[in-house]
């Protein structure tokens, strides 16, 4: 399965990665080569085979639905590139 540059741009938009024209051209070939290569999986008959969800069969752990952690907003925001008091600051999103 090959992808064209339009598809590459569309995927990059979905992935929220800006790409230049040069990058789009290079990625067209690279992504197509990888997708062509994984096509060989179509040789495998998988009808009736369950998709794997977990390599180790174990019951999902549960815990009581109660607060066990928190109460330190300073630590939560300390690494933010832009912050105001205990808030993360982002560009305006609501007009």
């Amino acid at each position: 399965m090959s992808v064209d540059q339009k598809t590459v741009r569309n995927i990059a938009r979905l992935a929220r990665i800006a790409i230049s024209d040069d990058e789009a051209a290079a990625l067209e070939g690279e992504l197509s080569a990888i997708l062509d290569w994984v096509e060989q999986l179509n040789e495998v008959e998988t009808d009736g085979i369950e998709p794997m969800t977990s390599v180790v069969h174990a019951a999902m752990k549960k815990r009581a639905d109660e607060v066990t952690d928190g109460g330190y907003p300073d630590r939560i925001v300390q690494n933010a590139p832009k912050r105001d008091d205990h808030f993360f600051v982002v560009p305006k999103v609501i007009e």
Binding site: L31, A33, V44, T53, V55, V56, A58, K61, V90
Partner: protein
């Protein structure tokens, strides 16, 4: 005392207990070795003051007789493990300046057992790579060189800093992680021991996530015994990781030294692949002969879906990575490239922050998970994964463990394969099946290539049977008698 950094963990532990030297002297020997080894680029961040402080505490405890299992042992930590108050980069520009306010469970376990952190070790960006060339902090250089040749070689990846630091005796052991071979392949390239435990044995909490259903932490060390010592401290049952399995952690050292007489070792015929070097084949035959001489029964087995493991991996791992890496958005931590529009801010931040290989994998992952392709790619790959696991289940009805090569060849030169992602991916052909099935595997140095560089053999075990893996690994280590060391050209 400069030779103290040559000691294995087991030797250092005995020497510290006997008070032959102090934890401070042991740490200082390593700090001096690190200072002389800048050319290897193994460390992203050194923490010498913290190491000396921890050594002082260890010396007090050693004097008082209150000795923890790893008291005073100096370790390196792959820069994928969050370390409280110490830069954690994952080898990426996008985590610029990120100093976690928390500690990963695995590293916390090591410090609680008395180990000393020397610093954070370079790795491929977000652990995506097989040569440590994708790190934002530059490639790590393998301490080994080809005979009579100064070409810099890759140490393998993604745990290239861990493997190089251990091989060059800059630390007694190191933490590493393995998603498709990232512990075992660099171990094979550097003449060290690399152990990937069963999925769920070590907590993933606080480890920068790459592919959550495949990622697993483990040690890189110079001996099999040291791997057993480190794993006992790294492994735990952790409520903070729902995939951490509720099973007691055994004393892995007790598994060493016993006989393997009558043990059934499987040889999977599908691992004899085209393009595998003659010397790898000879090494594998040597391994078979060593285990047979030690009394093991050698049995041919078939793992028919082996060839599909790598392509299935390159759907599953990028898919999970594209989801995991969505969190790097310039808002909560790391790099931010400003823009008035929030979507443009995300796009510009991620364009500047991610390297080429990470972008490739995020894009592949986004594509295979996108509407209309999810079933054809992701679900298909997960069905193939079930068949790969079934192969192993059937083999383990007949054998106790498997013996395979660790890599299809020895370390290659820096830059030799960067232009060809597919050729790079093929490095993991013998290791990736183990991740797809969640099994434990160890790479043990077994000989030298014709170029004079190390080669490794791999033992694959049944789920949570790290003890057999270690036991057989130790027998192979003894038989191989691998005692070669790289020339210390970097000093």
């Amino acid at each position: 005392m400069s030779a103290l950094n040559r000691l294995s963990i087991a030797q250092a532990r005995a020497g510290l207990k006997a008070r032959d030297f102090s934890a401070r002297e042991l740490v200082e020997a390593h700090l001096a070795a690190i200072e002389r080894a800048a050319a290897l680029n193994a460390f992203v961040t050194g923490t010498p003051e913290r190491a000396l402080d921890a050594a002082a505490i260890s010396d007090k405890r050693l004097a008082g007789g209150d000795v923890r299992p790893l008291e005073g042992i100096p370790l390196g930590v792959k820069d994928l493990f969050a370390t409280e108050g110490v830069l954690t980069s994952a080898g990426s520009h996008i985590l610029d300046g990120f100093t976690p306010p928390y500690e990963s469970t695995v590293s916390a376990n090591l410090w609680a057992d008395g180990a000393v952190m020397l610093g954070k070790l370079n790795c491929d960006e977000f652990a995506m790579g097989s040569s440590n060339e994708s790190s934002y902090y530059g490639p790590v250089i393998n301490p080994w060189r080809r005979s009579g040749d100064e070409t810099p070689l890759v140490p393998g990846g993604s745990s290239g800093g861990s493997a190089t630091a251990v091989a060059a005796q800059l630390c007694s052991g190191a933490t590493a992680t393995d998603t498709g071979g990232s512990i075992r392949q660099p171990a094979a390239f550097t003449g060290t021991v690399g152990l990937k435990p069963t999925y769920g044995r070590c907590s993933r909490w606080g480890i920068v996530a790459f592919a959550s259903s495949l990622d697993q932490a483990g040690p890189i060390t110079r001996t099999v015994r040291d791997a057993a010592i480190m794993l006992r401290s790294m492994a735990s049952v952790d409520d903070k990781d729902t995939t951490s399995i509720d099973m007691p952690v055994p004393d892995y050292e007790k598994a060493l030294g016993g006989t393997i007489k009558g043990l059934k070792v499987g040889i999977p015929k599908e691992y004899r692949v085209d393009g595998m070097g003659d010397e790898i084949e000879r090494l594998w035959d040597d391994g078979i002969a060593w285990l047979r001489a030690a009394g093991a029964e050698i049995i041919d087995v078939s793992l028919p879906y082996t060839k599909y493991a790598l392509p299935a991996y390159y759907i599953v791992a990028p898919a999970e990575a594209s989801s995991n890496l969505a969190r790097y958005d310039g808002v909560r931590y790391g790099l931010r490239v400003e823009d008035d529009d929030i979507t443009a801010m995300y796009e510009r931040t991620r364009a500047a922050g991610f390297g080429a290989e990470v972008k490739r994998r995020v894009l592949i992952g986004t594509y295979v998970l996108s509407a209309g392709y999810y079933d054809a790619y992701y679900i298909k790959a997960q069905r193939v994964r079930t068949l790969i696991k079934r192969d192993f289940d059937q083999a383990f009805e007949k054998v106790d463990c498997l013996l395979t090569p660790a890599t299809p060849g020895p370390a290659f030169g820096i830059g030799e394969r960067v232009g060809d992602p597919l050729a790079m991916y093929l490095n993991d052909i013998f290791t990736v099946t183990v991740n797809m099935a969640g099994l434990p595997g160890i790479s043990v140095p077994a000989g030298l290539s014709g170029e004079g560089t190390p080669l490794g053999l791999q033992i694959i075990g049944q789920p949570f049977d790290e003890e057999t893996v270690l036991k057989v690994g130790a027998v192979m280590e003894d038989a191989a008698g691998f005692d070669a060391e790289p020339d210390r050209w970097w000093e």
